[in-house]
């Protein structure tokens, strides 16, 4: 391995490769920061350019863009309540409230620190434990994915604060949205009203942008803009010992969770971020503070999504199995470059694989230095009067939504969810619960039914397989404990 690392370093420090790394980081960073422009899209756009490069340069380009785009989605999520990439969805929940409290700089600092740490630890796992992690990932099939999704869904209890009923309605709404479209297992049409555009379902990104970004623009447009806006001076401090002490346990758990979820071929970094945010709420002593703008609420999803993005490289490099949309495109690129992704890639092309490892490591380190000037740029944008900034945000949201799959209907869906989000906000509705339902709903449904097809309809498949049995038992405990606590509280109040 040491040999491989040296080989990787040698390759990366060729001037041309370094230039590619820096350029790719810049592109990925900017793309990730813009809503609607995802890492997948950037990798696809640059695929033809990569044909013209030698193999090593090509994969430094593609994997660096991937890593950088997962990183920067949090900037607009924190500053404008507009997740720049789906992976940053959970970062909105505590990041934006901190901005509203005038602590945008602190929020960004926490996000950068957690992202980079998550990414670096993720790469170190990738470099040292890939074969072991890959064999763990292979233990997961439909019953296990279903159990994982159920465990994630039970967190609605802690996510919705005191408003449990609203939380359940929210998850229900999210699950309902996830059922729209063609039934993935039988092909039957569900709630499509014979519209071909709805066949492929409601895409996650328009809903996300609508619920968070558009609703916020609507809300702000009701405010009196003639009052001089509070000028936020954003000074970012990336490492703060006091905050680090506060978030270190959350980060530790989230990174491990992020890697574990990331290596699974069936789920990606967005799910990892959402699950990790949920788990942070569940483990916290003060779950009611989540959503009001606390450092743990940023550290959890940001360290998890970057760790997961690195984790997704494990099945790609060791088995040739893509764990996400972006890694699927990178898999295609391997083939176009005449390489055979699969179990032999690491032993056949160690120079390439180790160069990828080393460049991923460097991106995660370099990005700490490079994010400061970008954040200064973004914070200048914050000084614009909202009468100008609001419309610009809306236009970016529209372009970004359209760009996802060239669908005009998606724009209308996004605007509709903007209105819905606006009214739900006013009702103090936990929007996180809806997002939880949309992210985990399709996994839970499809994997449940596929598992039953595997067992010819026998429900015991979920309890006879050890991983799924453990996950489902945890889910059960997670549901029962709050009830017991409530009952105890009730009894002691009676006594």
């Amino acid at each position: 391995m040491i040999e491989g690392i040296l080989l990787g370093l040698e390759n990366l420090f060729e001037p041309f490769h370094l230039i590619i790394l820096l350029a790719a980081m810049l592109i990925g960073f900017l793309g990730g920061a813009l809503p609607g422009v995802s890492g997948t899209m950037l990798v696809i756009i640059l695929l033809p350019i990569s044909y013209g490069l030698d193999t090593i340069s090509a994969f430094i380009l593609l994997t660096t863009i991937y890593a950088a785009s997962v990183f920067s989605g949090m900037i607009s999520a924190i500053l404008f309540r507009t997740p720049g990439a789906p992976e940053a969805v959970a970062t909105v929940l505590d990041g934006y409230p901190m901005t509203q409290q005038g602590k945008a700089g602190q929020a960004l600092g926490i996000a950068i620190f957690s992202s980079a740490t998550g990414g670096i630890v993720g790469v170190l796992f990738l470099m040292t434990l890939t074969p072991l992690l890959a064999s763990f990932a292979l233990q997961f099939s439909s019953p296990e994915y279903f159990a994982l999704a159920v465990l994630g869904l039970t967190v609605v209890v802690s996510l919705s604060g005191g408003a449990l009923i609203k939380g359940f309605i929210g998850v229900g709404l999210g699950l309902f949205i996830a059922t729209i479209g063609m039934d993935p297992l039988t092909g039957a049409q569900r709630f499509t009203f014979d519209s071909v555009n709805l066949l492929s379902g409601i895409d996650f990104i328009p809903v996300l942008i609508g619920l968070f970004a558009i609703s916020e623009v609507l809300r702000k447009s009701k405010e009196d803009q003639s009052i001089k806006q509070q000028m936020q001076k954003i000074s970012t401090k990336i490492f703060d010992l006091k905050i680090f002490r506060q978030i270190k346990n959350t980060m530790f758990r989230s990174i491990l969770l992020g890697i574990s979820v990331g290596i699974l071929p069936g789920v990606g970094a967005t799910t990892a971020a959402m699950l990790s945010y949920s788990e942070a709420t569940r483990w916290s002593k003060n779950p009611e503070k989540f959503g009001t703008g606390i450092p743990e609420g940023i550290a959890a999803p940001e360290s998890a999504n970057n760790a997961a993005a690195m984790g997704a490289m494990v099945p790609l490099l060791s088995l040739g199995i893509p764990g996400s949309a972006t890694t699927a495109v990178i898999l295609g690129a391997f083939i176009l470059h005449g390489l055979q992704p699969g179990p032999m890639l690491i032993s056949n092309s160690p120079d390439l694989v180790y160069t990828i490892f080393i460049s991923l490591l460097f991106v995660n380190i370099l990005i700490i230095i490079f994010s400061k000037p970008f954040i200064n740029l973004f914070s200048k944008i914050m000084k614009l009067p909202y009468t100008a900034l609001g419309p610009v945000i809306v236009i970016f949201c529209i372009i970004g939504t359209y760009a996802v799959r060239n669908s005009v209907l998606d724009i209308w869906i996004m605007l509709l969810f903007g209105l819905i989000g606006y009214y739900l906000d006013r009702l103090k509705f936990p929007i996180a619960a809806i997002i939880l339902g949309i992210v985990l709903g399709p996994i839970a449904e499809v994997e449940f039914r596929r598992a039953l097809q595997m067992s010819s309809g026998d429900l015991s498949i979920f309890m006879t397989r050890p991983i799924s049995a453990v996950l489902l038992s945890l889910a059960l405990i997670a549901l029962i404990i709050p009830l017991i606590n409530k009952w105890r509280a009730y009894k002691s109040s009676q006594a």
Partner: protein, 326 residues
């Protein structure tokens, strides 16, 4: 409403109009000699990174070099290509909208695709892939052992293939019928999930081409048990074919370009020739061999392929009504 709010709302409105306006492609009078004068959109109904998408991007890239064109590949997943087809058909038939597809005959026969063969003109077929039944190497020794096991334990084996009511599922079900065995059909979301389920031992066999799994086969992780072909495949002399086994099953996935039917014939000709030249390039040949797409001759010109599609649609209509009748 304050003045600034009004300004803001009208700016939002203006922005929306501008963006929505820009979303509709502009009409242009095409002059065939100068074709192409603008970007050519290719609609693909499958996700980025998959077999159909890789085919479109590779070939489009080569055609682009040849006729100095600029291609824009639009991925619109859903309904085995139906969504992309529907959206492509709403664009003007001026040669700047093409469709890269692999499931047209099946979706048309199944009725999910409403735009039949009268509404499209094939440009050319580029690839004709070969299915195989594959298992994890330690699961079954050969096809006879698999069939014998399935006969003794009806409904126990899990057979994976990608998607629902596409050519994969139909071929998988035809295989079960022809071989006279009862297995569970497990629709997979993608090839990656299927390979990982085979490796993990969660499903027993899969319907898959050898291109995507060749490195597993070389590592002796996977083993093809039978090829869906008439003659034995070079490189796999010891693996029997369906025809040898007495099963009438040789269809595979075909990948091709279509254009809306009203596209001027001159443009179809230009593209057909360019596609053929693209396939003859060294780059394509290399890609074809790396991906094991060279097992069958892929090329079929516009007219010949149109006839084949018509025939295929008829055949699949019959097969689907048989499957649904059960």
């Amino acid at each position: 409403m304050s003045k600034s709010t009004k300004i803001m709302l009208s700016t939002i409105l203006l922005g929306m109009i501008l963006v929505l306006g820009a979303c509709n492609g502009e009409d242009s009078q095409a002059d065939y000699e100068d074709y192409p004068e603008q970007q050519i959109d290719v609609y693909v109904g499958h996700g980025p990174g998959g077999g159909t998408d890789t085919f479109v991007r590779t070939v489009a890239n080569l055609i682009a070099d040849d006729i100095d064109a600029d291609f824009n590949v639009i991925n619109q997943e859903g309904g085995s290509g139906v969504v992309a087809m529907q959206n492509a058909m709403q664009q003007p038939a001026d040669g700047y909208t093409l469709i890269g597809d692999s499931a047209f005959a099946v979706t048309t026969a199944a009725g999910t695709n409403e735009h039949g063969i009268d509404e499209v003109t094939p440009i050319a077929r580029v690839q004709s892939d070969t299915y195989a039944i594959q298992v994890r190497s330690d699961r079954f020794e050969d096809i006879d052992e698999l069939i014998a096991y399935a006969e003794e334990n009806p409904g126990e084996l899990n057979m994976g293939a990608v998607g629902t009511m596409g050519i994969d599922e139909i071929t998988a079900r035809r295989f079960m019928n022809e071989a006279g065995v009862d297995m569970n059909y497990i629709p997979m979301e993608g090839a990656g999930q299927m390979h990982s389920d085979i490796l993990g031992g969660h499903i027993d066999l899969m319907l898959e081409e050898v291109g995507p799994t060749i490195s597993y086969i070389e590592e002796e992780e996977f083993k093809p048990l039978v090829f869906f072909a008439e003659d034995r495949i070079e490189d796999f002399d010891d693996v029997p074919t369906t025809v040898e086994k007495g099963w009438d099953l040789t269809d595979g996935v075909e990948r091709y370009f279509l254009a809306p039917a009203d596209t001027p014939q001159e443009i179809i000709d230009i593209l057909e020739d360019a596609t053929q030249r693209a396939m003859e390039t060294e780059e394509y040949q290399e890609y074809e061999e790396n991906s094991y797409l060279h097992l069958r001759d892929g090329w079929m010109g516009s007219e010949e392929f149109e006839e084949k599609l018509e025939q295929d649609i008829e055949n699949y209509e019959e097969i689907i009504s048989e499957i649904e009748g059960e």
